[in-house]
């Protein structure tokens, strides 16, 4: 008997529909993670009385959040209906949860960033009141943003995992850690550029380690469904991301006496984080385009279950 073709399909056409999302969403993943990481370093700067870190963190968090909202809305089929997202709150829809997270985080990060203008306000009048009120309010908002930040950085992993896109769905236990590590690394990247110091070096190394470890599991731990993350363009992107992240972490430690090397390490971490998100995004898209990634794992599951879930006897 001729060995059976390893899978069958309908003229090789995809079964699940490849995402209609564009690279805007990959950028959104990065900017969302960056906003989260920056909010954390801003809160760290607040707590450790490091004004440079605080200002850099708050500024980056707000800017990255603005970019996030821009790319998220731009990718909608009907951008003018963005506010329809706020009609419901659905735990089964990570996008709904994420929109609410993003909204609350945005409010907190916005107030925290606005507080930075307090010293430039006049001392008298209404603005004078703002000058007095803003710093404590900003401090509270800064901690609030930091409290929401880990959620903002990791919900996007659920956003991808809760789909029929085979390689995203399969990687659901590891994606949140990969994205959390990537967000920490990108936040540390900003910190290493603005105010390098021991906390930023620690955060860079820890973030990179989490990202690389979880990334390794994404790329190798899911059998056939890890393949799209290793082959073709996604494979190249993720490989480059690994190198940049590792170089950034090493640079952060080795270059601790040099402002320039620290900043370069920060840039490397940021670039690694960007490429990680693009690689994961494109890996998933590739897995949806090729029916093999839908058919073979489901077939194997059926065979392992000792039979067919579709009723009727197996063909002789």
């Amino acid at each position: 008997m001729v060995p059976k073709a390893d899978f069958q399909s309908y003229y090789g056409r995809p079964i699940v529909r490849p995402p209609v999302w564009t690279h805007d969403i990959a950028i959104y993943l990065f900017t969302g993670g960056l906003a989260a990481g920056s909010a954390l370093i801003a809160a760290g700067g607040q707590a450790s009385k490091d004004p440079v870190l605080r200002v850099a963190g708050r500024g980056t968090a707000l800017a990255a959040l603005g970019a996030s909202a821009f790319f998220l809305i731009k990718d909608l089929g009907r951008p003018d209906r963005f506010h329809h997202m706020l009609r419901v709150a659905k735990p089964t829809s990570p996008m709904s949860m994420g929109t609410w997270l993003l909204s609350f985080f945005g409010g907190a990060a916005g107030v925290a960033a606005a507080a930075e203008v307090a010293p430039f306000l006049p001392e008298r009048g209404l603005l004078g009141v703002a000058r007095k009120v803003l710093p404590p309010v900003g401090a509270a908002a800064g901690y609030g943003a930091a409290a929401l930040a880990p959620g903002l950085a990791t919900y996007t992993a659920v956003l991808f995992a809760d789909t029929a896109v085979p390689s995203w769905n399969a990687a659901y236990p590891d994606l949140p850690f990969m994205f959390a590590g990537s967000a920490l690394a990108s936040g540390a990247g900003v910190g290493l550029i603005a105010a390098p110091g021991r906390p930023m070096r620690r955060m860079a190394v820890a973030g990179a380690a989490i990202e690389l470890a979880a990334g390794h599991r994404v790329e190798h731990g899911h059998g056939l469904l890890s393949e799209p993350y290793r082959n073709g363009r996604p494979g190249k992107l993720l490989k480059a991301a690994r190198v940049l992240t590792a170089v950034g972490a090493v640079g952060a430690v080795v270059g601790r006496r040099s402002r320039v090397v620290s900043a370069l390490a920060g840039v490397s971490l940021l670039a690694g984080s960007v490429l990680t998100r693009f690689g994961v995004f494109e890996g998933g898209v590739e897995s949806a385009k090729d029916p093999r990634y839908t058919v073979i794992p489901q077939r194997e599951g059926l065979n392992k279950a000792g039979g067919r879930k579709v009723s009727g006897p197996s063909p002789s």
Binding site: V2, S9, Y10, Y11, I15, V16, R17, P19, V20, A36, I41, G44, A47, D75, L76, G77, R78, R81, H84, M85, R87, V88, K90, P91, T92, S93, P94, M95, P150, A153, T154, Y155, A157, V158, A161, D162, T163, A164, V165, P173, P176, F177, F179, A180, A183, L184, R202, M203, A206, I210, A288, V295, R299, G301, K309, V310, S311, G312, P315, S316
Partner: protein, 378 residues
């Protein structure tokens, strides 16, 4: 959250909050009687005012629609098989009794067929090809595979000249004729069978699209079906990735998601959906899901009793990965041959574990940041 609200058998309309919901309605699409006329596609477009999908010739079969899209809510799949590529014996007598089956009447075709497919030698009554090529070259004018119970398909038996089977594969007719299939000895032969299936949205018990929709545009109707509200949808595209069947799609020029509504506007008025109304062979059957499931089980039994061993139901089982489909099918080959996933599950099946993992990752992230800033500052 009630048990089974994310996964497992469930009656979706009461779960969605309807009190005194009418019976769940659905489609049973029996592909064994589909003739591929595409009346369903046309009727659907006409009733629902669905725009055209472009006039492309795809070049792989009589299917030029390609698949379900935002602008094709019914899709007739055409599968042309040299033989059942799943290994299922298409030379099973019964449903094909009396039809000319066996090798092609064109020797050259048989040679090619022998080179491209090998006999399994396992089918009853069909000897394994010893020398496929030489057998193939002489085969061709006989009708094998007439019904075993003396049911020589009319016309076919007389011309049997005893060539051995080259491929063991049975053939359906190729081109249309004026005579009934198999009534003429000179019936044109071909070496493949056609499978035709009118695909449609499955209206899953646990619908991935509905679960992930962030605007509430997708909703569960009182009939247990799943419908998009076009005045709410903002085109986020999440439902498209949430569907394990690749059904729902975003319309390019309009930016919103569209799919079959199971003619919500018609069934609310006691009418049949447009496609089922137009179907000339009752391949598409509309009705109460419970009744359809019984009817389908009987149909499979009948077909298998007639020897169509490969007949099987798809999407009828409430314990499958999507809690059973509101629109299910009788297929004559593996689901993936028709472009259907063999064992789909709703992505939200695992959403609780997904949130738990994300929560753990978030805690890890927060702890890392705290530790990074803890202790003596340099």
């Amino acid at each position: 959250m009630e048990s089974n609200s994310l996964y497992g058998p469930l009656d979706p309309a009461p779960e969605a909050g309807y009190t005194d919901a009418p019976p769940r309605m659905g489609f049973f699409t029996d592909t064994s009687v589909c003739i591929g006329c595409k009346a369903c596609e046309v009727a659907c477009k006409t009733w629902n005012a669905v725009p055209d999908d472009g006039f492309d010739l795809l070049g792989h079969s009589y299917d030029n629609t390609g698949g379900l899209t935002a602008n094709s809510w019914r899709h007739v799949a055409f599968i042309e098989q040299p033989r059942s590529s799943s290994g299922a014996s298409t030379d099973t007598p019964g449903a094909f009794a009396g039809l000319p089956v066996g090798p092609s009447s064109v020797p050259a075709t048989n040679v090619i067929a022998a080179q491209t497919s090998a006999d399994t030698g396992t089918s009853p009554g069909i000897l394994p090809a010893v020398d496929a090529l030489s057998a193939a070259a002489t085969a061709g004018s006989e009708f094998l595979g007439a019904a075993p119970s003396g049911g020589c398909g009319s016309g076919g038996c007389g011309s049997s000249s005893g060539g051995s089977s080259s491929g063991g594969g049975a053939q359906m007719l190729g081109m249309p004729m004026t005579d009934l299939p198999g009534r003429v000895n000179e019936a044109p032969r071909s070496d493949f069978r056609w499978l035709m299936m009118s695909n449609v949205c499955k209206h899953c018990t646990h619908a991935g699209c509905l679960d992930v929709c962030p605007t509430g545009a997708l909703f569960r109707t009182e009939f247990g079906t799943v419908v998009v509200q076009d005045d709410i949808c903002n085109g986020c595209g999440y439902c498209i990735s949430g569907c394990p069947y690749g059904v729902i799609d975003r319309r390019d020029d309009d930016g919103r998601a569209w799919k079959c509504t199971l003619c919500y506007d018609r069934i609310g008025d006691g009418l049949m959906p447009a496609c089922a109304t137009a179907c000339p062979t009752e391949s598409i059957q509309f009705g109460e899901l419970d009744e359809l499931r019984e009817r389908a089980a009987r149909r499979v039994e009948t077909l298998q009793a007639q020897g169509v061993a490969e007949a099987r139901l798809y999407g009828n089982d409430p314990s499958d990965g999507v809690g059973g489909d509101g629109a299910f099918f009788l297929l004559l080959d593996e689901p993936e041959v028709y472009g259907l996933p063999p064992d789909p599950h709703v992505p939200t099946r695992d959403v609780v574990s997904m949130w738990k993992k994300a929560g753990l990752a978030a805690l890890t992230m927060a702890a890392t940041a705290v530790v990074a800033f803890a202790g003596r500052r340099k």
